[in-house]
Point group: C2
Chain length 456, copies 2
C-alpha cells in the first residue's frame, strides 16, 4: 500500500538511471583518449597486485572456507590462489583480497576505491564467459565512471552519514560493467542498474574489521548477479536511482544530479584515479615522500640527529601515534612512516608488519622525529628537515606527495609496488609474466593470461 | 582515515548487536509458549504455500536462468520446482517466489514480511547441513524476532525514507536464524549480525517490479552468507548495528533502542504475525470479508440489486479503481474485491488473474457496488449492505477483517489458502502430504519431507 510520508524527497529528479544505462550500453569501444585507456590498465594492474598480495590473508581464508560450503563450480580464478570458484564467488573473494591491505586505487574526489567492486566482477565474468581483454577494459572504464559519478552526486553527505561509499556505489559500477560485458541493451542495462540499486553495501563502522574489504567484494558479487538477472529478463524500476524512494534519495540528502551528465562520455572519472605508493593513510604520504627523497640525497639514518617535521594539524590528529606497538598502529604513526622512508626508502605492506615496526633502528629513528604543527602548510604537503650529527641540515618540501593526482605514481613505481606485494605469493618469476599480461590486457583475446600467471 | 562529520549521531547507543547475539545463541530450544511454537508453524506453512504457488512465475524463471550461469551445485530445493541450487541460490529463489504474490505473512506493526528472508535462508541451510525440523522452528522464531525488533526500533522513519523494510531488516533476521542453525556461539553470532548489517536490501521504488520480491530473496542469501562467513572466522564490528556509523543510525533517524530489549525472550514478535486471506492490499480485506459473509448467509449474486459499501476515505483513495482492466488493476479495486467475495466466496490469486477480473458476472456485480465514504468507520472496518431485487436488505458490519491480529486466520482457512496456491503447481495429491510435513516440522528429524513433497 502507498502511504504518505514525512521525509522530504524530490519528485523531479532527472532520469539518471536511463541516462547511465544508455551511456553504458552504447558508448563505443575505446571511445576515449589513449591516456584514459592507459589509466584503465594502470588501475587494473594495481588491483591485481593488491589482490595477489593479500591472497593468503586470513580474511581470504575465512571467505574461501565459507564459500566451500556451497560447493561452487570452478568457473573463475581466485587471484594468487589455486582455488577456483563460481563467478559470483570469485568476484566476492577477489574484491575482499584487493581491499584487504587498503592499498588499492582511490578516486580522491569521493574517496571511492573503484577497482575493487568493478574489476573483481569483471575478471570473474570475463573468465566465465570468454570475453576479450578489450571488452574488460571498456567495461572497466564505463563501470568505474558509473560508480564515481554516482559518488560525485552524493559525496560527502552520503559518506558522512555512515556509508562506505566504495561498497554502496560499487554495486552500481559492477552492475554497469557486467551489463556492458554481457552486451546488454539499454533497457536491460537499466534493469541491471535498477536491481543493483536495491543493494548498496557497507557501513563505516566496519573499518578495522574484515567486513571493510568485504564491502567491495559483496558489491562485486551483487553487481554481477544483478547483470545476470537483467540478462534473463528480471525487472526493476527504470527510475531506481533517482526516484523519491529510489536508492540515491534514500541514502543521501545531497544529490547533485548534474554530476551524472556533466561531460558524460568526454570526461572519464578513471582519469582521476590514484594509486597509493605507501600502505597507510593519505595524510602521511607527503612526510614519507620527503623522507624517501632525503634518503635519495644521501642522508643516512645513522647520521641523523633529528628529523624536523612541519605538517598541518590534521596529520598529527589522525596519525600522531608516537610509539606504535604493531603494524596496525604503525599505520597511524607519521613518526613510523618517516622512519621507514629514511631507513629503507619505502613504506609498503612489509614496512607495516609487526617486526618491522619494532625493528631497533626503525624505533631509534622514529624517536628522533620531532613533529610540529604549522597550519600554513596544506594537508597535502609536508616540510621536512634532517638535522645531521655533523650539524648539516637537509630540507625537502613536498607540495604534493608522489601518488597524488598532481604527481601520479610513475609506471615503474607502480610495478615496484606490484612486485613487493606479489613476489612473496606467486614468486618473482611469475610476477614478470603477470605484469606483462596486465599491461597488455586491452590487446588480449581473453583474460586467460592474467588468470594463468596469477596462480602461485 | 577518520573524518569529522556534520551528520548527527548518538555515540551512546546501547550494545544491541551484542544483546541480540547473546539472545540468539543462548535462548533455549522451545523456550516459549505453545502458542508461539504454533505460530511459527503457521508462518512456515504459509510461506511454503506462497513459494510453491509462485514457483512458475516469470520472476522465478528469470532468477533460475541467471543462477544457472553459475553452474551451482544441487544442495537445496527450489520449492515447487525440480531444479536444485546451492544453498545461497535456493535461499534467493525461494525468497523471491514466496513474496511474488505479495500474499505472504505480515508483522503489522512494521509491515515487515518476515518469513521471506528468514525461512528462505533456513530451509536451504537446513537441507544443506541436515538440521532437524526443531532446529529450523527454533531458528525461525529467533530470526524473526531479530528482524521485527530491529524493525520496531526504526519504523516508521526508516520505511518513510524509502527502505523496503522487509529486505533491510530481513538480512539481519536471516543471519540470526542461520547463526542459530549453525550453532554459532555468541561471539560468532555477533559477527554474523555485523556482516549482515553492512547489507540492508531494498528500496520502495521497486514496488511493482520483480525487484520487490527480490528483496527478501537477496536478504536471505546475504544473511545466510554472513553466517557462513562468521562460522569460518570472518570478523565485523561488534557494534555494527548501533554505532554512530553502524547500520541502524545510518539508515534511520528514529531509533528506539528499548524495542530490542523490552521483554526480550518473553515476548516473541512472531506472535504478532498475520496471514492475508485475500491476495490484495489490507485495506480492502474488511469489505471482501463482509461480502463473503453475505454469501454465506445465502445472498446470491444474481439476486443483488446493489451493494452499499461504507468505508473510510483511505480505502477509496488507495483502492478506488472502478473499472479494473486486468488482474493487477483488480488489486486496487475494492469494487472487484467485493464482487469476488460475493460471487465465489474468496479472493485469492486466481481471483486476480486477468480472465476472472473480466468475467461477465463479476464485472456485472462490481458495477452494482456503490461505495460511500464514512470517516466514522475505522480503516480496519467495513459496513456492507446487500439490497436484493425483492427489496430485502442484508447487512454485515466487519470491525476487524479475517486475517487480522484480532481475528486470526483459522488453520483451516490457512490450509485452504495453501491449497489454492499449491494445487495447480504440484497437484492436489501432493499438497496434502506437504501440508502434513509443514504442520509436523517441529518433530521431524530433518526438512526432508517438506522438500520431498514440495516437488511438482
Amino acid at each position: 500500500m502507498a502511504r504518505n510520508t514525512k521525509v522530504a524527497a524530490d519528485p523531479n529528479a532527472p532520469p539518471v538511471t536511463r541516462t547511465l544505462a544508455r551511456f553504458v550500453a552504447t558508448h563505443p569501444s575505446t571511445g576515449w583518449s589513449d591516456a584514459v585507456d592507459r589509466e584503465a590498465h594502470r588501475t587494473f594492474l594495481n588491483w591485481v597486485g593488491c589482490a595477489v598480495g593479500a591472497a593468503r590473508h586470513e580474511s581470504v581464508e575465512a571467505a574461501l572456507g565459507a564459500l566451500a560450503m556451497l560447493r561452487p563450480s570452478a568457473q573463475a580464478a581466485v587471484l594468487g590462489r589455486e582455488e577456483r570458484l563460481d563467478m559470483a564467488g570469485a568476484a566476492l573473494v577477489n574484491g575482499i583480497s584487493s581491499h584487504t591491505f587498503d592499498f588499492d586505487d582511490t578516486h580522491l574526489k569521493t574517496i571511492i576505491h573503484p577497482a575493487g567492486p568493478v574489476a573483481s566482477a569483471l575478471l570473474a565474468l570475463a573468465e566465465g564467459t570468454g570475453a576479450s581483454g578489450r571488452q574488460v577494459i571498456d567495461a572497466l572504464v564505463l563501470g568505474i565512471d558509473v560508480a564515481c559519478r554516482v559518488g560525485n552526486v552524493m559525496y560527502p553527505d552520503h559518506y558522512d552519514r555512515g556509508w562506505h561509499i566504495t561498497g554502496s556505489t560499487g554495486t552500481l559500477g559492477a552492475a554497469a560493467g557486467c551489463a556492458r560485458l554481457l552486451g546488454l541493451d539499454e533497457e536491460k542495462t537499466a534493469m541491471a542498474l535498477g536491481i543493483a540499486a536495491s543493494q548498496p553495501v557497507g557501513m563505516r563502522e566496519q573499518f578495522g574489521t574484515m567486513t571493510k574489504p568485504f564491502h567491495p567484494g559483496a558489491a562485486a558479487r551483487a553487481g554481477l548477479t544483478a547483470a545476470l538477472l537483467a540478462k534473463h529478463g528480471f525487472t526493476a524500476s527504470p527510475k531506481a536511482l533517482e526516484a523519491p524512494r529510489g536508492m540515491m534519495q534514500t541514502v543521501s540528502t545531497k544529490n547533485d544530479w548534474n554530476e551524472i551528465t556533466d561531460e558524460l562520455g568526454s570526461r572519464f572519472e578513471i582519469s582521476f584515479n590514484t594509486y597509493k605508493p605507501f600502505a597507510c593513510g593519505i595524510v602521511i604520504h607527503p612526510s614519507i615522500d620527503a623522507c624517501v627523497q632525503l634518503r635519495e640525497r644521501g642522508v643516512a639514518a645513522a647520521d641523523v640527529e633529528r628529523i624536523e617535521l612541519k605538517v598541518h594539524s590534521l596529520v598529527l590528529e589522525l596519525t600522531g601515534k608516537k610509539e606504535p606497538k604493531d603494524g596496525l598502529e604503525g599505520k597511524f604513526s607519521v613518526y613510523h612512516g618517516c622512519a621507514a622512508g629514511l631507513v629503507v626508502g619505502r613504506a609498503g605492506e612489509p614496512e607495516y608488519d609487526d617486526d618491522f615496526v619494532n625493528r631497533e633502528d626503525v624505533v631509534a629513528l622514529r624517536r628522533r622525529v620531532v613533529a610540529t604543527v604549522d597550519d600554513s602548510i596544506d594537508e597535502a604537503s609536508a616540510d621536512v628537515t634532517a638535522v645531521l650529527k655533523d650539524g648539516r641540515r637537509e630540507r625537502v618540501f613536498v607540495e604534493h606527495a608522489i601518488g597524488s593526482l598532481e604527481r601520479p605514481l610513475p609506471d615503474a613505481a607502480l610495478e615496484d609496488k606490484f612486485r613487493t606485494m606479489a613476489d612473496p605469493v606467486i614468486g618473482a618469476a611469475r610476477v614478470g609474466a603477470l605484469l606483462a599480461a596486465c599491461r597488455d590486457l586491452g590487446n588480449a583475446p581473453s583474460v586467460g593470461a592474467v588468470v594463468k600467471e596469477a596462480r602461485p
